[in-house]
């Protein structure tokens, strides 16, 4: 069956450290993968998109990697801050050509001062 898995346990880290979140998928062949941030009671906010032919994408303190062999994406936040505390969702297009995003369950990140 098709699955998108993110660590359901919250990730607790100290301010200034690098947070690394994992997204694994099975039985998908996505053309691209996206990461979103979601704060409680709000809609998801788009962060980064990485294509299947890209290994790595960066934006300010964010870095995403995409390994289509391992079927895994890693999301890194360097020099983390308490304001980075949120739930982070990965999403990929579930069916090539139809562009429907399918979401993982999300990982809650808690950055303590």
């Amino acid at each position: 069956s098709q699955k998108i898995e993110q660590n359901s346990e919250a990730l607790n880290i100290q301010e200034g450290k690098t947070a690394t979140l994992t997204c694994n998928y099975t039985n998908y062949s996505p053309a691209y993968l996206q990461w979103y941030r979601q704060d409680p009671g709000r809609g998801p906010v788009f962060l980064l998109l990485i294509r299947e032919n890209e290994k790595e994408k960066r934006k300010e303190r964010l870095k995403v990697t995409f390994d289509t062999t391992l079927k895994q994406s890693l999301f890194h936040i360097t020099a983390s801050q308490p304001a980075d505390s949120a739930t982070y969702l990965c999403a990929l297009d579930g069916t090539t050509g139809f562009q429907k995003l399918v979401f993982g369950t999300g990982t809650r990140l808690l950055v303590s001062p």
Partner: protein, 112 residues
């Protein structure tokens, strides 16, 4: 990018009634989507709403329960019909101008 607004932001409704949620995008987009997010869960796609065609519903969602309109390239509505407490959720409108997909702030629905 796309800026998306939704109305209402929240509502409390009685069982058996219907609620229509409006979604406005600040630019013309071909593809719009409606998602549901139940408490503590991730997003589940309800339907894809493309202008000029009937909405396409995902497994488990039917038009009679969630009728959708898409009258133009910047606007869509989702109606939650004959509501029950199980419909209590956050409903999210989304638009996809290119490959990136953007979301509205959501409508928090509580059904008593």
């Amino acid at each position: 990018s796309a800026v998306i607004s939704q109305k209402p932001s929240r509502d409390i409704c009685q069982r058996g009634t219907s609620l229509t949620i409006q979604c406005q995008v600040d630019s013309q987009v071909t593809m719009m989507f409606w998602y549901r997010q139940q408490p503590g869960q991730s997003l589940t796609l309800i339907a894809t709403a493309n202008q000029g065609s009937e909405a396409t519903y995902e497994s488990g969602f039917v038009i009679d329960k969630f009728p959708i309109s898409r009258p133009n390239l910047t606007f869509s509505t989702l109606t939650v019909s004959n509501m029950s407490p199980e419909d209590s959720s956050i409903y999210l409108c989304s638009a996809k101008p290119y490959n990136e997909q953007f979301f509205g702030p959501g409508t928090r629905l509580t059904v008593l």
